[in-house]
Symmetry: C2
Subunit: 353 residues, 2 copies
Amino acid sequence: MPDFQTIALDVMGGDRGPDAVIPAAAMALEQKPDLRFLLVGDEGRIKPLLARHGKLAERCQIIHTADAVASHEKPSVALRTGRASSMRLAINAVEEGRADSVVSSGNTGALMAMAKFVLKSLPGIHRPAIASVFPTMRGETMMLDLGANVVCDADNLVQFAILGAVFAKAVRGIERPTVGLLNVGTEDMKGSDAVREAAEILRGIEFPGDFRGFIEGNDIPLGTVDVVVTDGFTGNVALKLAEGMGTLTGHFIRDAFYSSPLAKIGGILAYPAMKRLKNRMDPRYYNGGMFLGLGGICVKSHGSSDAYGFSRAILVAAGLVERGYNTVVAQEIERLSALGPIRSEAVEEPASL
Amino acid sequence: MPDFQTIALDVMGGDRGPDAVIPAAAMALEQKPDLRFLLVGDEGRIKPLLARHGKLAERCQIIHTADAVASHEKPSVALRTGRASSMRLAINAVEEGRADSVVSSGNTGALMAMAKFVLKSLPGIHRPAIASVFPTMRGETMMLDLGANVVCDADNLVQFAILGAVFAKAVRGIERPTVGLLNVGTEDMKGSDAVREAAEILRGIEFPGDFRGFIEGNDIPLGTVDVVVTDGFTGNVALKLAEGMGTLTGHFIRDAFYSSPLAKIGGILAYPAMKRLKNRMDPRYYNGGMFLGLGGICVKSHGSSDAYGFSRAILVAAGLVERGYNTVVAQEIERLSALGPIRSEAVEEPASL
């Protein structure tokens, strides 16, 4: 293995395009000097930005294309018409072995559709899932699926549990990760057929972690388990709800500090602490939706990411590559292939993140 | 109509039983002197508590029973064996016309099963739903279903939208309430078949409010709409997640104030403001899960409610009765009966709240 890894960046994706991606690459390089980049996008816009980051310029190569996937393009349309897009060429670079991973803040649905088409699913995985890590009362927790599959059967949920447990183990280094299946109650009789059946399967297999059975919505922020498994509908709603709750709380806290002169002084004194609190819950720090279960590493950055946020997504991709995530998952799936017959299903439109 | 209303209270329900329920009734009576109560439970435990609340004692009647539904009893078992329970007798009082509504902090599943069995659904309603109101960036929003129906079809969601719109209109006095259907994106193509079909139906009928189409998880705390409609699985997870986020934030804020001597002083100065902030998000204030779509008014208080929390649930029930909620819903359903064929479905175990 070479002593560096190469990340293909879709420079044209997201609200800010190159203005976020180029400085993000420079930031990530400061954290991890062993990174190399393929910058895929409009050379005319990339070069002037690169001129400001000498060190980065030495570590990257440009793949020029003027074409980009629009942010609201239907995935099926993007797949058909976006063959020369920066997103597609960046994904192709992984397939061709020119890059170890790809990071894009473009259209989620298009990215998932293209990634599935080009990189394929790992053998035995029916539906790749979107996963992300976020802060809880007891450290960090990872949740999946966050929107790639709005309807999931028991087999899908079981595979998500395996994808998640391997992440916690291989990438985060947790010896025996705890995994919970999101439900409306913890008793066996609770929930839909899919979650009840999935729990039964997970209890019956040699699970690569500690399957804790059902958990409830409050267990997510409490950090009860290392990995929260759910369908893409519930996961997507939960992810966005948590984001919205953060905004609401920030708004209420500001209101409270402005509610009296004394509170205002208190606010000034507590400002550095509140700032740290804000950083602790900074969604940019937790940016980077991992597409797990694909034949290559693909990370989705938030569409509105700034350079710092995008740099975090780059580091997420770098971590997955460094820890050989896909190799370990493939081994686990093979080991567990005695799971029984699992239905293969049609590709669906992923939810917007 | 008499100039007072009577509320049947399941005195033995919840973690604290009479110790919460009796003082709660006294508190509610202070707010609304036109209330009368049927206290259903163990007379031996009720009477000494009542002795401390002279005014309340004049306004209530005791229905004695020593039997109570256990907090983890299976709904089907409670239904079969709990015929003399305080919960059941309190519900019966509504059916018999002796009370206008019932409030219980007992076992949610048992309460829903008994309420459905005794009070039946309103004509045309297939699945009663659990609804609750909570604080958002722009005032209050109501969400349903919160766990009565883990799997919902389009017709169920449409009926929830009607139940919610009528609540916002009749009880909260919002002229043209905005209603949103929770989904993973706002585009028409997004989501499960059920939500897409429900949106189509809602756009086609003379909806008693302003149907805004799809909303996403972050729209819940942002208060984008007056009524959030979703299936009981997603709603239950969202409700509990929001509760857990509140706990997490409180924890992080405390941490921040303890992080430095200056922050500590700031915390002391800002204490009254922070206290107000806490009150503003106090889940006890928003206690009271309404079982909508039944032939009688039934409100579920949180199992761990204290007296204040339970008094809030009593006032929720009083509001529904006062505004003639069930009459208006019945009229709306009748008016909209041209909706087309709707499948009737089996009763399911409700989720624990």
